[in-house]
């Protein structure tokens, strides 16, 4: 497909004259979702879902989230230059979208980050048939077949019951993972107040503003130490084993991330209770999705692209590695920059 180009600023749609998730300020940016490695400040015109725009304003401030903000609901079609453009749900975090573009009878879909596992806090991924599908490959190795998140939440709740005198602190990033964990806990029947690091609270309020119920949330930063004993605390990954965590009574360090699937990664982080919960597509979901779109050509933006391209090749699908620099292998690092 020759009307999508890779430029230093990012992926560029030539006939529409816009960039998708550009790394530098541009005239027109279409944004897939609010994580800070995809949604960057300083663009002139920004097109995204209302949720994503709202998230950008919360994180960057009104003035840096784009001079001109264009809200687009899922499925609402607009024309940009000679291109028909609409957004389809990506199931990654609240407001996350795939960018669907049609030009001269061809359809290209840029999925951004996505997952296929159910998530009570965002609209599920929708398969859009297309000629070119642009995918991530964060978990692009066959060892990443991730377990059911309910099972991982069960591990945490079992541990909370077994060690009632300790405080379980779960590392999770502020946008998406935090709210999903809360919703999963509530679905599992846990209705105690949850204690939150100050950096996580504003995003939870934003989610609630979009109608996502999270139950009773309290500030861990303002709590008295004894109050949190036996409870569950959520905090950014950078805080869970550092000085901030000293306010917690006898903490058990937990971390919710797809990387926890591999023991050495969990060990290296000093995690006591690894929880394998990811907002990215796992290996099976990557292959299933690429096939389901019917695309003859797959571009891989970032992650472990060589294994995915190799596996697609065996299925008769042509893959190409874009090797976009600037998207983090996990949202964690980008998110830590955002809350810092």
């Amino acid at each position: 497909m020759d009307w999508l180009e890779l430029k230093p600023e990012g992926l560029f749609c030539v006939p529409g004259e816009f960039y998708i998730d550009p790394l530098q300020p541009v005239a027109h940016a279409v944004i897939t979702h609010g994580h800070s490695d995809h949604a960057r400040p300083g663009h002139q015109h920004v097109t995204a879902t209302p949720e994503t725009l709202s998230i950008m304003r919360l994180r960057m401030g009104e003035d840096r989230a784009g001079e001109n903000q264009q809200a687009l609901e899922y499925g609402e079609v607009i024309s940009v230059g000679a291109v028909r453009l609409w957004l389809a749900p990506a199931g990654h975090v609240l407001g996350s979208a795939q960018i669907v573009m049609e030009y001269q009878g061809q359809r290209a879909v840029v999925s951004g980050d996505y997952k296929r596992a159910p998530d009570p806090t965002c609209t599920p991924f929708e398969v859009v048939p297309c000629d070119l599908f642009v995918t991530e490959a964060t978990f692009g190795l066959p060892v990443f077949r991730l377990p059911d998140p309910a099972h991982e939440i069960g591990k945490l709740l079992h541990d909370v019951r077994l060690f009632p005198e300790r405080t379980h602190v779960v590392g999770c990033y502020a946008l998406g993972k935090c709210q999903r964990l809360i919703a999963l806990l509530r679905n599992a029947g846990y209705h105690e107040p949850l204690w939150l690091h100050g950096a996580l609270l504003p995003m939870c309020s934003l989610y609630e503003g979009f109608g996502i119920q999270l139950g009773e949330l309290k500030s861990a930063t303002a709590a008295k130490k004894g109050e949190m004993r036996g409870g569950i605390v959520l905090a950014p990954p950078s805080a869970i084993a550092d000085r901030w965590a000293r306010r917690l009574p006898d903490p058990v360090v937990c971390l919710a991330s797809g990387w926890m699937h591999v023991r050495q990664r969990a060990k290296a982080r000093g995690v006591e209770l690894p929880m394998v919960i990811s907002d990215h597509a796992d290996w099976d979901a990557l292959l299933d999705t690429c096939q389901a779109t019917g695309a003859k050509e797959i571009w891989v933006t970032h992650g472990r692209e060589e294994a995915l391209i190799h596996a697609l090749g065996k299925l008769g699908i042509r893959g190409r590695a874009l090797r976009l620099i600037g998207y983090e292998e996990d949202d964690e690092q980008a998110e830590e920059d955002a809350v810092a």
Binding site: L141, V143, A245
Partner: protein, 531 residues
């Protein structure tokens, strides 16, 4: 298998002893017989198979996955069993129909399975298991299972379930075999205490309290006996109708590493339980702990090690003789029994620990401080009428260590601690000055992670954070600006360290904020003073 695999996974990530204990108790209370008995055997290190080699795992995995994808995955994960466990994709029908095998089923099957049948059985099991059970299974079957809990901790968990002392479990332990049905029946009140009869079981040793905050002036010298405290390892030698054993004081059987000692026991043929210190002794001279360490590090020593580093025993006490339990007798009487047994048999490799004559404790203190010879840590004081009591009772026995040696060293690196200390930089690598080609530099001589108060730890942590110059993962390199007074028990030459020296039991004695780093000790002075 699932319960066992879950336990393994939790133990692997849990640094806290108390939490491990709670996890073990939960498992032993919940898991069925005989699965839990084999899990106990795994913790005791007696469950090991070599049914499959890495090549077989790899070949099995290749049946289901493309070799290139496998290679990339293995490269990323770094552990073969874990890679296969994660990458294995069950054939959907079998996954539904067959239940995952129990630990006992796996053990019983492997015990009598011909090698040629292993791949078929393993494939079936892998299909029926989840990833975490596959990992446990593959580690077990290749003989590389590591359980994050010691045998002692497992016994402590069992003892707490049964509301008995861990030592009660130890007394019967070495007469038992996996899957320990009689043991579980006993701790659950469904059977009698197992009878250890003729088995060479371990008897919990009597340990001494450190002599601190004790008024020696109130002691009557006539009521006390003094012996040298040797810097080896405390052992119990057991000879019973069913065999001989060499145990450490934590009930670890180290007979394989010390065949010379075992052979001596066999030759004597006397049914006794002896308490003593294991040392390396060359021509009647006790060698340094470093020599003993080399013997301890080898599961089975070479002929040249046996020749160059022969083991010897200093005998402290006798607990049993020909089935008679001597432990209730006073120390003096036991000592007489030990001396007459020794005189009768004249056992090779063994010497009696000397009783040191003294008139008063001042003389004894002088003697203690003058003894700087290799292998002596200080003195033991034992009450003349003390029975042999398991554990560490306060009063009858005291260990009176020499004042520690000290050196002023500069902090070079710090590393985060574990568990409760995971938010603190609590492990410090320290070094001394030396001059190479007219340039003065620090060379590390050791690492300390104890000896400080909570307040001092907070100070050290903040200092490290404020003076970091480089970071390597969990390690920080710091500016050379903080002096620690390091206490240690002994210094020795070491080929493994860049400085060529190593310290025994180094700990932080004081933080010397008053001392400029340039004035810390030099390696040259250190070697001159202590080596």
């Amino acid at each position: 298998m699932i319960e066992f695999a879950t336990l393994l996974e939790r133990l692997a990530f849990t640094p806290s002893r108390n939490m491990k204990l709670a996890l073990l108790k939960e498992y032993f209370a919940m898991a069925p017989d005989p699965d839990r008995g084999y899990a106990l055997a795994a913790m005791a290190g007696s469950l090991s198979f070599a049914a499959a080699k890495p090549a077989m795992l790899r070949a099995l995995a290749m049946e289901r996955i493309d070799p290139e994808l496998f290679a990339w995955s293995y490269d990323y994960v770094g552990d073969l069993a874990e890679t296969v466990a994660l990458i294995w994709q069950p054939e959907s029908e079998t996954h539904q129909s067959e239940a995952a095998p129990g630990l006992a089923e796996v053990v019983h099957t492997l015990d009598r399975l011909p090698k040629a049948d292993v791949p078929d059985v393993l494939r079936r099991w892998l299909d029926a298991c989840d990833a975490s059970s596959r990992y446990a299974l593959l580690k077990l079957i290749t003989g590389s299972l590591r359980v994050g809990a010691s045998a002692r901790l497992a016994k402590t968990a069992l003892a707490e379930l049964a509301s008995v002392a861990p030592d009660d479990i130890e007394e019967v332990w070495h007469g038992l075999k996996a899957p320990y049905g009689a043991l579980f029946a006993w701790i659950e009140g469904k059977g009698p205490k197992p009878d250890a009869k003729d088995a060479p079981v371990f008897r919990p040793p009597m340990l001494a309290q450190p002599l601190e905050n004790v008024d020696l002036a109130a002691f009557d010298p006539a009521e006390w006996r003094a012996e040298w405290k040797w810097d080896g390892i405390r052992v119990q030698l057991v000879s019973a109708p069913q065999g001989e054993r060499v145990y450490t004081r934590t009930a670890e059987d180290i007979g394989k590493a010390f065949p010379d000692v075992l052979a001596t026991m066999q030759d004597l043929g006397s049914r006794v339980v002896l308490d003593g210190e294991l040392l390396v002794v060359r021509d009647d001279v006790v060698a340094s702990f470093a020599d003993l360490q080399q013997r301890l590090n080898r599961k089975s020593p070479t002929a040249s090690m046996l020749r160059d580093m022969p083991a010897g025993i200093r005998l402290y006490d006798i607990l049993f003789e020909d089935g008679e339990d001597l432990r209730p007798l006073p120390f003096d009487i036991r000592r007489q029994r030990l001396e007459s047994w020794f005189a009768r048999l004249n056992p090779p490799r063994m010497v009696l620990s000397d009783l040191i004559a003294f008139r008063n404790f001042e003389d004894l203190a002088k003697l203690r401080d003058s003894a700087r010879s290799e292998g002596i840590e200080g003195l033991m004081l034992k009450k003349a009428d003390s029975p042999y009591l398991p554990g560490r009772p306060r009063g009858p026995w005291w260990k009176w260590k020499r004042e520690p040696l000290t050196v002023d060293a500069v902090v070079m690196y710090a590393q985060r601690g574990h568990g409760k200390r995971s938010s603190f930089y609590s492990d410090y690598t320290f070094g001394l000055w030396r001059t190479v080609d007219d340039k003065r530099e620090l060379v590390p001589i050791g690492k300390a992670y104890s000896g400080f108060t909570d307040e001092e730890l907070k100070f050290l942590d903040k200092w490290i954070r404020d003076h970091t110059t480089k970071r390597f993962g969990p390690v920080r390199e710091v500016a050379h600006g903080l002096v620690l007074e390091i206490a240690f028990d002994a210094a020795q030459y070491s080929k493994r360290h860049k400085s060529g020296v190593a310290l025994r039991f180094p700990r932080v004695a004081r933080i010397r904020t008053d001392k400029p780093a340039e004035e810390a000790d030099t390696l040259e002075d250190f070697i001159h003073a202590f080596l």
